[in-house]
Symmetry: C2
Subunit: 418 residues, 2 copies
């Protein structure tokens, strides 16, 4: 099953051509369940919002024309005809010469076309002095001025934060259709891994990948199904992968993709369906041995066992696919501009992702320093870094002092002065 | 209960002096349950990671000194003494003159101090030719070089993303102590609000605030307890607030804080305990009528009924408190620099938060335009805006062309050219 080692750009392109990642389905959820989900429908309003014209101040409802001659010293006198309470249909009519007391949010009574703020009035026993004219429509919010009946207020693909939940509540919705979260099966292979919490025999390490990758799936909008550690033999791996493909929309394995005799994951994956393995290794560092397959219209990503490599390759190849399966909007990675504090070389012929720490130099410039990479597979390297820099295989090196884009791993922690 | 209208800065300061927001408690969670929680303990490693020295390449384990004379044309010949498999204690000893086959991740056998990459060897029947010297320690990862026994790998206050979960898995943890999520009771008041899904009688509107504020509580790291809509009378409000205070660590009400006869929320809150209401209105726009109280060591925030104002005031006053109660790190709000496309005025004497839309002008500059604010209380205003600009009460205005900081509401949607 020999395949050419693809360049990074070729691999990304081939994946997109071989697998068209689309939302895997939709479901109905309640208003509170809709929070932080993605709309799978256009939302149109069943009614005008507000459904009635209302006062937006405390004061008095009037016919504006009755106030046109009003002034501070020569107020207009209008006859008091009643109160308008909030939350009820008004039971007064403001005919010419009349005035009704009204509060913020109360419906404008019939006959009135404006509201005078209480500050500009003096109540008398049976009448009210108005000290300032108002124009038609002043201090009121017309029915439908927020949302019109049948207006599309939110569109398919919109992420529902607290603000969008407010719009759904405003139009009275209690249920909405959102995209389902794709299920992503995660399994670890390798004779050397045991589950955290188990005793650690000689020569074994704890399984990091199943846990980092499951968490990373959640962060991408998916639902991880952690199928645990699969023993190092073809039969059990084949069974586990068949089960994974029956349960999930995508599959991620880790381990077993290098060149040793027990690295048979790609062969097994390739045997499960068509087209099978489409990418066998990518000219990228870290993560070169990554294998990607499409099996019966589901993507299967086989990550290296090295936990730093696997999490990096997840973010570069897998996450964008999960985001699309989840119906989420395409992501713009959060970058910062910094100055390279050291010369940085790409691995020869490979798209290189170098982890960096950020700090400030004496002139207050934000600088990026590569973290020491001597520790292959050190999970702490990934945790200590603030982010990473992408260096093209076509570049000789990134020189000291060059302005570079740093992709941040998370929110920037308070950066230290260096 | 007359109190001076405080300035924005005075109000923030008084709140900090009157209520010291600290994490409300801790709890044990599993490894998968720890994802996206905040560490409430320092995490120290119970062992060296890796716990054994291992090969980081596929090749052959040797005594480095045996290879010093090796060259491409004149290889050194070493006698083959066995294989070292991954995941098992080695059963070979690499004495002087011997060589053992080894794979990536396998433990370095006794006697060996380096590994030669397979690319630089030629296997023979009973021996191996080594074509390149190695130094002591080459191609191996020493025990404890990732994490040392007793090393503090993660500190209190650390947010646990997928990368940090990897560290916990690496050291074999299955449980960790994290901060509890503060419970925040949310209740709406007002004769004019009904719950979404109910029929809408004349003069009524749907309750937006209970839903936006509950979602906003979740976004801040809290657990909302939605107590629904409380009828507009003092007895029921008093009972509801007492229940809220018994169930939750903080309380948010909306509505009933203006100056109408039914705006008695602040009085009721003030009667519930000491010190009671500490802030009665703030010179801010929107949100001036906000009332803040501390009752028996719990904060009670009474937001205006206007949904735009209440969500704004939540973000400015309430969210920072919930973040601290949740043990989360202090937040740096995400800002962008943009150029003011229009002149913007603060409301006189008030710290003003003006909502803006972002776009690009013909020269490709990012510009910010105020959204039309004619619609008091329009929930769609909040949803259509990209972010907001803070204008100090001390400023006359923000002039066209000034560079300003725009606080983003969420991820920036693809900005449109204007």
């Amino acid at each position: 099953m020999f395949r050419k080692l693809l360049s990074f750009d070729e691999a990304k392109q081939l994946l997109e051509q071989s697998f068209s990642a689309k939302p895997i389905g939709v479901e109905q959820v309640s208003l509170s369940g809709a929070h932080e989900r993605v709309l799978a429908q256009n939302v149109t309003s069943p009614a005008d919002i507000p459904s009635f014209t209302r006062s937006i101040v405390d004061g008095y409802a009037v016919k504006a024309a009755d106030t046109f001659d009003a002034s501070e010293d020569k107020p207009v006198t209008l006859k008091f005809c009643g109160h308008v309470a909030i939350g009820e249909a008004p039971n007064v009519v403001v005919k010419k010469g009349l005035i009704a007391e009204i509060v913020t949010g109360a419906p404008l009574p019939e006959g009135a076309d404006a509201v005078v703020m209480v500050e500009y009035t003096t109540p008398r026993e049976y009448s009210v002095f108005v000290h300032r004219p108002v124009t038609i429509g002043e201090n009121i919010m017309a029915a439908g001025s927020d949302i019109s009946k049948n207006e599309t207020v939110l569109k398919v693909g919109r992420f529902l934060s607290s603000r969008e939940i407010g719009v759904l509540a405003a139009i009275g919705l209690t249920e909405v259709t959102v995209y389902k979260r794709p299920k992503v099966a995660v399994l670890s292979t390798g004779a050397e891994v045991v589950a955290p919490g188990e005793p650690l025999p000689a020569g074994k390490i704890y399984d990091i990948n199943a846990h980092t990758l499951s968490a990373a799936v959640t962060e991408a909008g998916g639902e991880p199904i952690n199928l645990g550690i699969i023993p190092d033999n073809k039969e059990e791996l084949t069974d586990a992968l068949k089960k994974a493909l029956s349960l999930a929309d995508a599959v991620i394995t880790s381990g077993g993709v290098s060149v040793g005799p027990k690295d048979f994951t790609p062969q097994v994956v390739d045997s499960l369906g068509k087209p099978g393995v489409i990418i066998s290794g990518v000219a990228v560092k870290p993560g070169k041995p990554i294998t990607i397959a499409v099996v019966n219209e589901k993507p299967v990503f086989s990550m290296p066992g090295n936990p730093t490599s696997s999490l990096f390759m997840f973010n570069v190849f897998v996450r964008p696919v999960i985001v699309k399966l989840a119906g989420r909007p395409e992501e713009e990675l959060h970058t910062l501009k910094a100055v390279a504090a050291q010369k940085m070389f790409p691995a020869r012929g490979r798209r290189t992702f170098t982890m960096v720490n950020l700090g400030y130099d004496n002139s207050g410039r934000l600088i990026a320093s590569p973290v020491p990479t001597g520790l292959s597979g050190a999970i702490t390297t990934l945790v200590k870094a603030d982010g990473f820099v992408e260096i093209s295989e076509k570049q000789q090196f990134v020189d000291v002092g060059t302005e570079i884009d740093v992709y941040l791993f998370g929110k920037l922690r308070k950066t230290k002065n260096v």
